[in-house]
Subunit: 337 residues, 2 copies
DNA sequence: AACGACACCGCAAACGTTTGCAGTTGAAGG
DNA sequence: CCTTCAACTGCAAACGTTTGCGGTGTCGTT
């Protein structure tokens, strides 16, 4: 009743030949006669023989597996990254093991341990927000296991990585508002201790400066959630000089802003235009639809995996560490034009 | 420069003892002297020894790995299922390999092959929409690899499964509208060749019947997307007798309905109440917020994994196939009260 | 008849680990 | 001084597969 997995030995026993002959027959080795090959292949087919990947891993010292460490799979952005990873890995004949850190340091450490124990050939990682100590990641490098960071990067660690040009993207978003004639643009900013929050604010400010518009501190409000956006929007609307545009650090914030604006009778985009930064699939279903920066999660995953595979497949590839910066592009919808 | 993985043999060589002694020392076997144990453990620590899970799998004929086949990871529902799977599996010391079928049959077959080849101890699967032939799934059973279906179930295959009581959930949703005094409730239905669409419609109809309300064919419209919902809503609004409630087969459809209603000046929920069926994280950010059935993806994943583990961990557990039906519960929000 | 050439196949080791068994000590008991 | 026992430790096989090398048998050629 227990495991029914067919092995090369089973085939060998049944056919009265040796395991090595079976192995060679299955790989079409020239030393093996056509008759034997045929017999072996027929029986393998009949018994549904599947090579034991575990034994192969042990033998070849490579598992054809890559490990992924990701903060939370339920975020649309991360799940689309995984999708990109899976597709590329699959095409290259690799299996993917996904571990969630749930944004926790201890869990991330455990994930690394599990992946190393499974002897993954390479690792893709987006570190958790809680991670400020990197010994577990250095351990990966110590073992010469190639590693590529995506989305979240640690300058202290020398490794390939792929990120999005947040600054440029928010520059473009802001510029889009300016090009539409907006002159008093507010920014709902992310936390200013995270690079994502800082970069997006800088891009916004730079766009204003380049257009000779003033950077007005009262118009930059730290608000990165639906609820905070509602408060922030009300605050804006209570000023004497209304803004004519809002660039929000993410879509949820933008949507909170839009709802508040509409509740208070403001027409979007006529009176105030709104632009978000995509982190879900909300942008298409708001009314009006939301202009937003597309972060290309799928592409990030596929690029990161390709970078990793390049090192895995040519063992003597020793190009210096590479930084791949993806352009995030603005998708213009109804909320801004 | 190549693989730097430390093995038991390395430790043995350095310490001038045999591999078996090292193995035993690491497992605190009573045969080994304290002195040896200490020396081994210290060196193992120093060299960052991690047991080779691959070798263990081969030796023990179990990989401590479970495989998951899922249609699309980017769907919020499925990614939350995975989250539930991961957490339970992780706590039990299992690693998870996730494969996406992308709703394609051929891909699903390939996924099964890969998982069997990796000798996963058990499999969790939600079949693709395209799958109407089940040989690959029978192959899993043939090898005595335990399998649990979730969300999507094949009656032809005898296996544990966990599903949501779609019929009951939509019964409750409809009843909620009726309890709120609605008497003319429309249903935006899912495809009537999928059980999900059929079950939800039946639940809706049953609730009407139980309340002695007529089932009116014109009020049942097949519409399961944002765009179709807009059309369907307009159609409803062009009737002479307006409905006073809409129960939609999913949230996107509900949101399309809401926007259309609002555009045509209908007050929600005053004139028409709307209830959705959750498949994303939209319900909290609409205006008004959307009453919706919560599908408990996380719970589904964790329950399915527990069912699987029960069979994995007690090899002589041979209870008959079990069907676990989860209650989906209605979350009442602003769109219906 | 002897030899080489060739075709075909098996032996055994290896990957890292576990584990039943046998072996080696050293000391205590007779 | 021999036996016995306990306390350790090592040998070797096993998991499934690959692969270098050597072996066998059958030819054809001299």
């Amino acid at each position: 009743m227990s495991s029914n997995q067919v092995t090369i030995k089973d085939i060998a026993r049944i056919l009265g030949i040796s395991a090595s002959t079976v192995s060679r027959a299955l790989k079409n080795h020239p030393d093996i006669s056509e008759a034997t090959k045929q017999a072996v292949n027929e029986l393998a087919q009949k018994l549904n023989y599947e090579p034991n990947a575990v034994a192969l891993s042990l033998k070849h010292n490579r598992s054809n597996t890559i490990g992924v460490i990701i903060p939370e799979i339920v975020h649309y952005f991360f799940s689309s990254v995984i999708s990109g990873i899976e597709d590329v890995a699959y095409d290259a004949g690799f299996t993917v093991i996904i571990c969630q850190s749930n944004e926790r340091y201890d869990r991330e450490v455990a994930n690394v341990k599990a992946l190393l124990s499974h002897r993954v050939d390479g690792v893709l990682v987006a570190i958790s927000k809680e991670t400020h100590q990197y010994d577990h990641l250095f351990a990966i490098q110590d073992r010469n296991v190639p590693m590529v960071f995506f989305d979240r990067v640690i300058p202290e660690i020398e490794a390939d990585h792929v990120i999005i040009d947040d600054r440029k993207a928010s520059y473009e978003a802001t510029k889009h508002l300016i090009d539409g004639g907006r002159k008093r643009i507010a920014h709902f900013a992310g936390p200013q201790n995270l690079s994502i929050g800082i970069e997006r604010r800088i891009g916004y400010e730079q766009a204003l400066k380049d257009a000779n518009l003033p950077v007005i501190p009262e118009l930059i409000i730290e608000a990165d959630s639906f609820e905070k956006a509602i408060k922030a929007t009300n605050k804006l609307l209570d000023m004497e000089n209304l803004p004519d545009g809002i660039f929000a650090v993410n879509d949820l914030t933008a949507i909170g802003a839009m709802q508040t604006l509409q509740k208070r009778g403001i027409k979007i985009p006529k009176q105030i235009a709104v632009v978000g930064f995509s982190d879900g699939r909300f942008s298409g279903i708001t009314d009006p639809t939301l202009t937003s920066v597309d972060q290309h999660g799928y592409e990030m995953g596929s690029v990161a995996t390709k970078m990793l595979l390049r090192r895995l497949l040519n063992p003597n590839y020793d190009a210096p560490v590479q930084s791949h910066v993806l352009d995030a592009n603005l998708i213009v919808r109804g909320s801004s034009v």
